[in-house]
Symmetry: C2
Subunit: 452 residues, 2 copies
């Protein structure tokens, strides 16, 4: 039996970071990563293989090189069982690997609904993190002109935009009233809808799919209102579920929705087994309820925590809970959200106060490339603590959203934000006198003392 | 005598924000802004009038409209004296304005060294925030081909780049060993030098100016080593000094370097007189020593504090001290710094540990427009608290620098940063597994436990 101090199963973002952080913290330990795939993809880059970067070959994660540099062993093979008593994993090939510590980074799989008639037809695709599948899908899509994308979360929106850029006719169907409805408030989502439409994607929101039809190959989609959409291909982007089968088979507890139960340091019930990334349970930053978010960035944060704490709890984990921080872009317009939306906060029963400010992302606004920038902030009404922020702007929005994320994680309030210092520059940011983050906070300050 | 509840003298960034914040917090108070200039400029936009935005007309601060919307009175006139007993200001016209609270936002003036021979010659310019002066300067520069810029701080660097873009031959002279030497560590500064050179600016660093020469009009500059540089025009960008003459005449204390002394709420010795912006004394975030930094963003932070606290100390000021946060850009490359550089930290006697990581600002790096991103962080060695960060990257660097600013202001340490959550997106940020801010922190974590 092969033996390693640490075995990491899976090598997407979470597995990669857990292995590297683990090795960095424990240079004398032997760490082996076992993964199914010959090559792995940058997960968030997958929508962009359809036009911006052209192929999966341009979306490869350089994990082999990173493992090699770090001194980590890589084994390509599928782990089919974990024996907790023997502390070993068995591969489909029959090969066995013993471990002292095991990290499950088995990820997630796209939801392919069995209840949806026609989902099994040819040219009906999902979007897994699987190079072989995606390469074949791209070959098939090359002959397709009309594509219906079902599900307008981030993947669905990004894919639709890419496919339109590549010259296809795209209809994006979403059962909820708005695209990105779980991520953004409606006032933000409608702006993204306007932009996506203007870029050529046809939107059908607030309407579900009744069936996908065709002979052997898909020819169309019927909506709940009877309307039919002709389709050479259909892409289902209606969500992902945790891939926790190995953990379940090994007798580890999972939540009702299938996430592997973990503690604050990403340890499962078995103190020698950690779980990180999409397969691991997440607790919400604000409520401690389960949070089903699946983000590479969240996965990496968990992986860092696991990697550092594999052999001893050597780091006090000062940030607790999962904070959703998303961003995306369509052309030169970026959108981001950190923490609670107004809608989610109200649903959870938070007493809140919101502030909105619209400005520009450069100053003066006469500078070439200036983009409008809007910031919406959600604060606790009595505590004055920031609970969430949504942003529309140019391409600096990703880091601006991260800034809001740090403000939330530090539990900053109206006063501490207003008296903070920022830096500004004409070519890089809004003006110091009209910095939307601070101006939106100012609106909230005035509302709280009854002046607005 | 005219009477107002609050008079603000000056209406660049600090005066504007003090007036508007003051009015927002006290809607029933009459606020009057008195300024010398008919029209005011966006201060940080001034270097860009020389090419990017073409003229001062495209760099105007829309203050008239903002005052009008807020219900603030604007008077154009020069205040020549303040009578603290009578609580009044007198204009050059003889007109008098009584106040209950007075805010001095009188700004700064460019240093024009009397010791420098030839500084009085025709076509030797400084860079004041004065539309009339700058308009005349632009007319004169139109006939000039060879320009020597003396002083490679931010203004000198930005101006040089703009003038080259406009087709002129530019030599930038700096007495210190590197350009931007007070803002960045040498390892960062040399990269900016390479870029600025590649864009066509000739650099002369580590050498002072002996004299400027010419008949009535400048024809050249002689350096300390005897070398002469032909020049149709010379621009002195060697710093600014606080314009505190009104305060001094009114008997208020100023520091040895001329900054008006203020407390944490921007109050001068006279409880009814506040000072904000370039004219007001700043205390350093890390050492409480005087910090001579002059930034519009700092000025606005001070102005917000003054505006909120004009009539009562209604906000607990949770952020204390002046934190330098700078950023600028040359083409599509941005540079930023927040807090202490390695050099400054060592000079102050901090026991530090640094971490550097180089990655990209998009992921995968095959995406069009991907720019390298380098982050250098300076932590306290024992405390593990972040003291400063320097960044080179694409145009998201401004907000990334602000993120580092928030991390510093929240006194986050290695552990709290490493266990924080960030958001990432291919088009907007580095990858979650290679996010330079976190990777540089990881380097420091390993150094601190003796692994690097």
């Amino acid at each position: 039996m092969n033996q390693a101090d640490v075995i990491v199963i899976g090598s997407s973002a979470a597995g990669l970071v857990a292995a590297i952080t683990g090795k960095n913290a424990n240079p004398d330990k032997k760490i082996t990563v076992i993964r199914k795939e010959e090559k792995t993809l940058v997960p968030c880059g997958i929508p962009y293989i359809f036009e911006s970067v052209k192929s999966t070959e341009n979306d490869l994660m350089p994990s082999e090189k990173m493992f090699d540099t770090a001194g980590i062993d890589l084994v390509v093979g599928e782990v089919v069982s974990v024996n907790r008593d023997e502390k070993s994993c068995t591969l489909r090939s029959g090969e066995k690997f013993g471990y002292d510590k095991l990290v499950l980074a088995t990820g997630s799989k796209p939801t392919k609904p069995s209840w949806l008639k026609g989902a099994e037809l040819q040219n009906v695709f999902t979007v897994p993190k699987d190079k072989v599948y995606l390469d074949a899908m791209q070959v098939s899509l090359a002959d397709c002109n009309k594509v219906v994308v079902i599900g307008a979360g981030f993947i669905g929106v990004e894919l639709s935009d890419e496919l339109v850029k590549s010259g296809k006719e795209v209809v994006l169907v979403e059962k909820l009233p708005n695209i990105l409805a779980l991520a953004f408030d409606e006032d933000i989502a409608v702006r993204i809808e306007e932009l996506l439409s203007s870029r050529g994607v046809s939107l059908k929101t607030g309407i579900g799919v009744q069936e996908i039809f065709g002979d052997t190959r898909v020819t169309g989609v019927r909506l709940e209102n009877g309307e039919t959409l002709p389709a050479d291909a259909v892409i289902l982007s209606i969500g992902y579920k945790p891939d926790s089968s190995l953990a379940i088979d090994a007798g580890l507890s999972v939540s009702e929705t299938g996430f592997i139960k973990v503690d604050e340091y990403m340890r499962t019930e078995d103190p020698d087994i950690f779980a990180v990334g999409d397969c691991a349970e997440k607790r919400d930053f604000f409520t401690r309820k389960q949070n089903p978010v699946m983000l590479a960035s969240t996965a990496c944060a968990e992986a860092r925590t696991a990697g550092i704490n594999l052999f001893k709890l050597s780091v006090v984990k000062t940030f607790n809970g999962t904070l959703s921080i998303f961003a995306t872009a369509l052309g030169d317009t970026g959108f981001g959200v950190a923490g609670l939306t107004e809608k989610k906060a109200r649903e959870e029963g938070f007493d809140i106060v919101t502030g909105v400010f619209e400005g520009t992302d450069k100053h003066p606004g006469t500078l070439p490339g200036t983009h409008k920038q809007m910031v919406k902030l959600i604060f606790g009404n009595e505590s004055g603590i920031l609970l969430g922020g949504e942003v529309i702007g140019g391409l600096s929005v990703g880091e601006l959203t991260n800034m809001i994320g740090f403000i939330i994680q530090n539990r900053m309030n109206v006063n501490s934000i207003l008296t903070s210092q920022i830096g500004t520059h004409p070519l890089l940011t809004a003006s110091p006198a009209g910095y939307p983050l601070l101006k939106a906070t100012g609106v909230v300050a005035r509302k709280r003392i009854g002046l607005l």
